[in-house]
């Protein structure tokens, strides 16, 4: 159930591929699972999120746009946190694949589990 939280931390790791982030979803089957907002977690994670990568991915998936920049006081901004929560935690990619924007390596997703294994000559 690849969440965008997880996707935001993944890059292509084929040997000598240096610009493989963020991975692009291909043929994604998207599910939205409502869940309780965890503000403490969101505020804690925010400095670790690559914001531009998240915006790019949300755009590629045709999901509601995120603000261009993180607001100055995100912990106090309820609307912002709600939008962040929906994008990071409630979007689940059930199947499809993630493709490297540079070397085009394909990482398949089956049953919500991404296979990031490389073959022995790619590591």
């Amino acid at each position: 159930m690849v969440r965008l939280l997880t996707h935001n931390m993944l890059q292509c790791h084929v040997k000598n591929c240096t610009n493989g982030f963020p991975l692009r979803f291909q043929d994604p089957v998207i599910e939205q699972h409502e869940q309780e907002i965890n503000k403490e977690f969101l505020v804690n994670m925010l400095p670790r999120i690559d914001w531009n990568a998240l915006r790019t991915t949300v755009d590629q998936l045709g999901l509601p746009e995120l603000p261009a920049a993180v607001p100055e006081n995100p912990a106090e901004d309820e609307a912002f946190l709600a939008a962040l929560h929906r994008a990071l935690m409630e979007v689940n990619i059930q199947s499809g694949s993630m493709v490297c924007p540079e070397c085009e390596h394909v990482y398949p997703i089956r049953d919500g589990i991404p296979n990031m294994l490389l073959s022995e000559d790619e590591v």
């Binding site: 159930m1 690849v2 969440r3 939280l5 997880t6 931390m9 993944l10 890059q11 292509c12 790791h13 982030f21 699972h33 869940q35 309780e36 965890n38 403490e40 977690f41 505020v43 804690n44 994670m45 670790r48 690559d50 935690m89 085009e104 390596h105 394909v106 990482y107 398949p108 049953d111 589990i113 991404p114 296979n115 990031m116 294994l117 490389l118 073959s119 022995e120 790619e122 590591v123």
Partner: protein, 461 residues
């Protein structure tokens, strides 16, 4: 200088389990709960379940132990002595201390160590406190106050060597052990972690709400579930995707349907879908995580040997010599193979790529224990946030172990090293805290002797 802070004395009553982990767990909980803790360690005997501590308040005492797996209860310590005559006399001299409790409902408990006393003995002991003359009702179920008498015996003695008396304030969280009992779990694997130790790891790792916890050797997802229980969001990965998806062999006792059991069965069983967010298939030695201080804690049981899948992607496949049994003990591969077949676990993992659209299997090579530990320590040094912790298990041969065998890292500081013995073997729960920002050039270093020592001890050790 400033006057030392006002503190009261308390008595911690531990369970009789995992003695080597007690003080480390308590120290971690003090940090996690932001409690100023002074342990009277010079008075502590690890063969006995009692530790006196100094704390600022009763509220701190309750906070300190509420998550503890190894603490049964904590008491406001009123008196302690070598004999009942002296103890009762000390209590008599401070009648003003009884005042708040004179009319509320109450009960007495008598706890004994090294001597299981019968009820009539305990009643006789309680009657010796009748002089306190409480007039409130006795309430055995939910009294306003519980007064505790704790007796410490020498083995085979009928006269206690030491006595404690105080007010019971709070309890540890031992019921969580039962909640996560493996017997009750839908999906089990050969490496599922004992829940008691798993929960202790959460305490040592400072795992709490709002944090992100990662297990790079996730197996059947034991840690994802227990760490999520502590409120953390959890992510796992493993080279073996079949462990994550499930082998289809559920825990029949729990009525699992064939083919239905996986990491996600356990997540659903405990209702933790909101917090266990992802499991990915990859090899720790070649992971796809971008650089950054991404995690608050890494909680893991690294593999070694055939059974647990100590492999990484590479050319050639060889068998490792040692395997880990479900209880965490270590055995020669040959011996373990006779008790439980593991052929299915040697089936290769499927790999689909642009190059091989119909799927193929990457080759794997044994992942040497020293290399696993070095990689894991390097990973923690880079990927933890400053203040974050890694807690992991290290297999050792007791006679050969030296502290230098534990890999060190310039960004990490050792906070605990607790041993769980198994005869001549043991495993150690190593906890490190990231205390400096990672910079280019920082690497782990260790003796590199872990594998050699296990092999040297040999199957006959």
């Amino acid at each position: 200088g400033a006057a030392p802070p006002e503190r009261n004395r308390y008595l911690v009553h531990f369970a009789q389990a995992h003695e080597d982990f007690r003080l480390a767990e308590l120290r971690s909980l003090a940090k996690l709960e932001n409690v100023d803790l002074v342990m009277e360690e010079h008075r502590y005997d690890r063969d006995r379940p009692f530790l006196t501590v100094q704390l600022a308040s009763d509220a701190d005492a309750i906070k300190l132990v509420r998550r503890s797996i190894l603490v049964k209860a904590i008491y406001a310590l009123w008196e302690e002595s070598r004999s009942y005559e002296a103890l009762l006399d000390q209590i008599r001299r401070k009648p003003e201390r009884n005042a708040p409790y004179m009319t509320c409902s109450f009960k007495f408990v008598v706890e004994t160590f090294n001597n299981s006393r019968a009820l009539d003995y305990k009643v006789a002991i309680i009657n010796r406190f009748a002089f306190m003359a409480f007039t409130g009702p006795i309430d055995l179920k939910s009294p306003d106050v519980t007064l505790g008498v704790l007796e410490d015996y020498d083995y085979k003695s009928d006269v206690p060597r030491y006595l404690y008396f105080g007010i019971q304030l709070g309890f540890g969280n031992r019921p969580a052990i039962d909640k996560f009992s493996l017997k009750k779990r839908t999906y089990l694997g050969t490496t599922s972690m004992d829940p008691q130790l798993s929960l202790i790891m959460g305490n040592l790792g400072l795992v709490r709400p709002g944090t992100l916890v990662y297990d790079p050797f996730v197996g059947t997802g034991s840690f994802l579930v227990t760490m999520a229980h502590f409120g953390a969001v959890t992510i796992g990965s493993d080279i073996d995707g079949r462990q994550i998806r499930g082998t289809g062999k559920g825990n029949a006792r729990r009525g699992a349907k064939p083919g239905s059991a996986s990491v996600w069965s356990n997540v659903e069983q405990y209702g933790l879908q909101d917090r266990v967010v992802d499991c990915l298939v990859y090899d720790m030695a070649h992971h796809p995580l971008r650089a950054g201080e991404l995690f608050d804690a890494i909680i893991t049981d690294p593999p070694y040997g055939v059974r647990a899948g100590a492999k990484k992607i590479g050319a050639d496949l060889k068998r490792a010599e040692w395997v880990k049994r479900p209880d965490g003990s270590i055995a020669p591969a040959a011996a373990a193979a006779t008790t439980e077949p593991h052929a299915a676990e040697q089936a290769p993992r499927q790999l689909v790529s642009a190059k091989h659209p119909h799927g193929r299997y990457p080759q794997t090579v044994p992942y040497d224990l020293d290399a696993v530990m070095a990689d894991l320590t390097d990973f923690a040094g880079r990927y933890l946030r400053v203040g974050g912790r890694i807690a992991y298990w290290l297999p050792t041969v007791k006679a050969e172990y030296a502290d230098e065998d534990i890999p060190t890292h310039p960004a990490l500081t050792l906070v605990a090293n607790c041993e769980q013995p198994f005869g001549q073997w043991s495993r150690r729960l190593v906890t490190l805290e990231k205390t400096r920002t990672w910079v280019e050039g920082m690497h782990s270093s260790g003796s590199g002797q872990l594998s050699a020592k296990l092999e040297r001890a040999g199957p006959g050790a």
